[in-house]
């Protein structure tokens, strides 16, 4: 038995023994995700237990070094873990911006002290990290940010504000792009700093969207003290870290357009709503649009797979994350538009409908922001045109 086979056998056994049955059922809604953090309320004892057990093995962050509490797995082992979890339909024990965003940035750019301080709580799901990037007057032009960290000797004093922080109201700590040098060119005087959101002077306000929900917040800084050892990477060189993080984010968002596990696919919903005639969906024009959507969706899934394979084979992907972000979000928006068309007048009900909460029209309205947040579609197309196609400025 090879080492990998043995790893698979052990993993399977451990998962069978430790993954609570309730954590093996498909997600019913976003509320089923475990985000962790100080303010998080576990939905069930099983959810808490599942996080605790996985965190203990470091399998909330399978490939992170074990010295920080990570799983210390190599790529093959991590793939096996993923396959074995999928085999029994195990839920992710933890979703968090710590795992997806600031963690990888710390591993790449952080000082040893910062890694030791922040990585273990991320792995254990103890801290919910919030992102402080966009500002009210710096949308796509992120580098023109104004939030100012003034050097006060042993610390910085932070003033200004950030918008579009996802779930900022749940945030415990923030990773935040701030201007530490007002003399330098706009990309040069920026640093990425970390601070506890309970620090005096931090105010969080929800931003209500057209969907009636508030998944984002605005954060206002009034003389907030930031320790000097909480700078990730070099001072004034935060733009390098930020670009790394943005690329990471885009790749994550690129998958949005794909049918997710547990969600019924478009054509099945269409058949339920519209019925069939002579064995095909009784709405020829919508049927063609659904087929085009499903083909593109399949093609994007294969493209993500191909890029992963190319990356494994050593190719450098770079700006293709912009393409994925663009295509994935446009695809999700097409999906929501089709769901509205399928739903007809039922899709207009703001408080009723399938789940009794106006989910359909709210999800559709929410999706309109996909091509804006995380860098607009226009920005992604600019990046593709210039960095991949080499077209002139």
């Amino acid at each position: 038995m090879s080492n990998l086979d043995q790893f698979r056998a052990e993993t399977r056994e451990w998962l069978e023994a430790n993954c609570p049955p309730a954590m093996r059922s498909p997600y019913r809604s976003e509320a089923d995700l475990c985000w962790g953090g100080r303010k998080f309320e576990f939905q069930s004892e099983e959810q808490r237990l599942w996080l605790e057990r996985m965190a203990e093995k470091g399998w909330t962050a399978p490939t992170w070094p074990s010295e920080y509490g990570g799983g210390g797995l190599n790529r093959e082992q991590a793939k096996i873990l993923k396959q074995e979890m999928e085999r029994i339909g195990a839920r992710q024990p933890l979703y968090s911006f710590g795992l997806f965003m600031i963690g990888p940035a710390l591993l790449k750019f952080g000082s040893e002290a910062l890694k030791q301080q922040h990585l273990p709580p991320i792995i254990r799901g103890e801290i919910h990290w919030a992102q402080g990037y966009s500002e009210p007057n710096a949308g796509s032009d992120l580098a023109s940010l104004q939030a100012r960290a003034e050097d006060k000797g042993d610390h910085y004093l932070l003033n200004g504000s950030k918008v579009w922080t996802s779930y900022g109201d749940r945030g415990d700590w923030m990773f935040c792009l701030v201007r530490t040098n007002t003399e330098a060119p706009k990309h040069k005087g920026i640093s990425l700093v970390l601070f506890d959101m309970t620090t005096p002077g931090v105010t969080v306000k929800p931003i209500k969207l057209i969907s009636g929900k508030s998944p984002f917040t605005e954060t206002i800084f009034d003389n907030v003290r930031v320790e000097k050892d909480q700078v990730v990477g070099e001072v004034d060189d935060g733009w390098t870290v930020a670009k790394y993080l943005l690329t990471h984010e885009r790749e994550m968002i690129g998958g949005t357009g794909l049918a997710r596990t547990g969600s019924r696919n478009l054509s099945e919903r269409a058949i339920d709503a519209l019925g069939t005639r002579d064995g095909v969906l009784d709405h020829p024009a919508l049927r063609a649009d659904i087929a085009k959507f499903e083909i593109d969706s399949k093609a994007l899934a294969l493209t993500l797979e191909r890029f992963r394979d190319e990356a494994k084979a050593g190719a450098s992907l770079g700006a293709v994350s912009s393409m994925l972000k663009y295509y994935g979000t446009e695809l999700n928006m097409r999906r929501q538009e089709l769901l509205m068309a399928i739903g007809g007048s039922e899709a207009l009900n703001w408080e009723g409908g399938e789940n009794g909460a106006g989910d359909l029209p709210r999800a559709w309205l929410r999706s309109r922001g996909n091509s804006i947040e995380g860098g607009t579609s226009e920005i992604q197309l600019n990046i593709v045109a210039k960095r991949i196609l080499g077209l002139p400025s």
């Binding site: 796509s140 032009d141 057209i210 024009a285 739903g343 007809g344 007048s345 009900n349 309205l365």
Partner: protein, 373 residues
Amino acid sequence: MALILNEEQQMLQDAARDFLAERAPLAHLRELRDTDNEERLSRELWAEMAEMGWPAILVPEEHGGLGYGYGGLGIVLEQTGRTLTPSPLLGTALTGVAALAAAGSGAQCAEILPKVAAGELLLALACDETARHDPGFVSCKAESSENGFTISGRKVAVHDGHAADLLIVSADTGNGISLFLVPADSEGVTVERYPVLDIGAAANVLLDEVRLPGSALLGPLDGGGDILNQVLDAARVGIAAEMLGLAQEVFERTMDYIKQRKQFGVPVGGFQGLQHRAAELYAEIELCKSLVIKALQSLDEGADDMAELASATKAKLCETAHSAANEGIQMHGGIGMTDEFDIGFFLKRCQILESLYGDRYFHHDRFARLRNY
């Protein structure tokens, strides 16, 4: 007839624009929502509109109306499309009056139309039974009983149904469809009100053995199908006029925004990527204007190709207004996604108007069918 407004129509347009700017700008919609107005309608505003004569525009002069025709009413609807003003104009002043004008007896018209013209009676057309518009599908049944009819069934997504005093209901009468005037407070009628996404409202209507007098029949027995289609075509064109106003307003607001909003030190409206999309949208909106004015004129003229023209117009407006509303949000960027900013209301209202009496898919299909392919 020339495809331009005449002098009388231009005056009507100016008056409507001025009135709405003062009495019912977009802030009015927001206020109705935020004050939890149950009906999502201001009765005071409707009274003022009645003073302006709007519910009377389509009412023939002999019944106390102004007789300005569809051309006149379309102008007002285009303006309310710009301000997204909630009002019973579509359900009452257009659809309701069109139905009575098309099929009402002398007595019915004499009784109802003056009240409509005075703004005292609200009507609603209850013709759909499924989530997708399909006026030919009628499982609601009306049976003859002594001195009248007994009607049972369920109608869904009745526009203005949550506020109407009098419902116009389609029902199967054995050898065809017939239309009936059903007071909303009749015994056996249940109006299930629900909020819709622009924070207006609509209703499902349950009819449980509702007893009606013989005088409730609107138009010939079993002959309501053609009348219904005729009324629906008028409504579709009216909706298109409202969508035209909506599309123009959201487009103009967006152009204004991208001219002044700066990014990377220059106005975003200077980027050719946005400019080409804006120019394409401009072209589509110009085409929409032509369809709407022609369709309104054709309604007044009783043109032969009315059905085809109505479907062409509704289909085209569904596509174009939707694009305009989507681009409105996209070109505004993050701020366009916030409830605080107004631009998102255009997309919400647009979706409602698109769905009402047939979306683009419905009308592409119908247009092709009417052209025999």
